[in-house]
Assembly symmetry: C2
Homo-oligomer: 207 residues x 2
């Protein structure tokens, strides 16, 4: 790509560093920003810089927050004794948007994956054990992606929590709503048969 302006070239190169944005898309974005009023572009940049500089992580659950303790941990109407363990912040948002979970979270910041060089010590696992140790926790719900890394992480943390008298659960794996049996993989189908649930609980789930 031949640029007639080094300023444009620099901006395109920076935009192209974003995940999923190639050079051509970056150029389209840069030319779009060029057409916007100057104060809107300033506003755009400010909001990103402010986010990077000011954002905090909740000291209790490691969720993203504007304050030292996040809104979820700070909310006394939520069950503070039920912790949902998730990989990252996007998972918190996904579960929150279902409005079907009334406990609190713990963000691991990743998942145990030796092939990617991620071991337990790089994740917020020790703080989770400390929470269980110090607080009156009754249940840990694992909401991790259903794959080898997720299962390894559940196994590892589960062993660490063995000595504590708490209920340890994981979100159900099964056929997706709207999915079709014949196209489901064997593993999923097998798990959904093994972990079958009474129909009355399916129709009237207990929150």
């Amino acid at each position: 790509m031949i640029f007639s302006s080094s300023l444009l070239e620099k901006a395109v190169n920076e935009l192209a560093k974003l995940p999923g944005i190639g050079k051509k898309t970056a150029l389209r974005l840069a030319l779009h920003l060029l057409k916007q009023p100057e104060n809107e572009v300033s506003h755009f940049c400010e909001s990103i810089e402010n986010m990077r500089k000011e954002i905090k992580f909740c000291s209790r659950c490691y969720n993203i927050s504007d304050k030292h303790v996040c809104n979820i941990c700070d909310n006394i109407s939520r069950k503070q004794d039920v912790i949902c363990v998730v990989e990252n912040i996007r998972d918190v948002m996904a579960i929150e948007s279902t409005q079907h979970f009334n406990g609190v979270f713990h963000v691991l910041g990743g998942i145990i994956s030796p092939l990617d060089g991620v071991g337990p010590e790089q994740l917020n696992i020790e703080p989770l054990i400390q929470r269980v140790h110090n607080e009156q926790i009754t249940e840990i719900v694992f909401a991790l992606n259903p794959n080898i890394q997720g299962d390894t992480t559940i196994y590892y943390i589960g062993r660490k929590l063995k000595e504590y008298p708490i209920k340890i659960t994981t979100i159900a794996r099964g056929i997706s709503f709207g999915g079709e049996l014949e196209y489901a993989d064997e593993m999923t189908l097998a798990k959904s048969i093994t972990n079958r649930i009474p129909v009355e609980r399916y129709i009237n789930p207990v929150a």
Copy 2:
């Protein structure tokens, strides 16, 4: 989408204003930026703000430039008497990257499109006529997209330039290299038959 931080929410909303970026992608970009070192994010924002504030448009051809006159207009080894008329800056870049044009450009900044409310007076057409009037121009090459708007623009400008003794050409329309005859639309095929060229000119094109 439920955000646990208003700073994150603001940044996501700003990113989602970019063309082709939805809320989910914006969130992914924002979380990516959050993971980067603070100085890299500052650099990212700076490059965009600088571009918006400092970039200039060439006073002669309206191409993007760091200076008052762009590198192409400033290059004496280029044919300053052959002007290629294009819709926007991306078209300049596309033609420049072919390295097959050695004249100068004129960026219209759009195309005549009454349905979109774009008339000749919103485009840099008058400055083009002035250039032809004041400079020793020998040829105008229209490199506009082959559609109704492009043809209208060519027709409009062509009429304005009728009194000047210059050659007016347009880039060839025909079957794309690698294209297949049977899948070409009738209009393109018809034009490529009507405007057929001698084989020796096809094999040994004159620059």
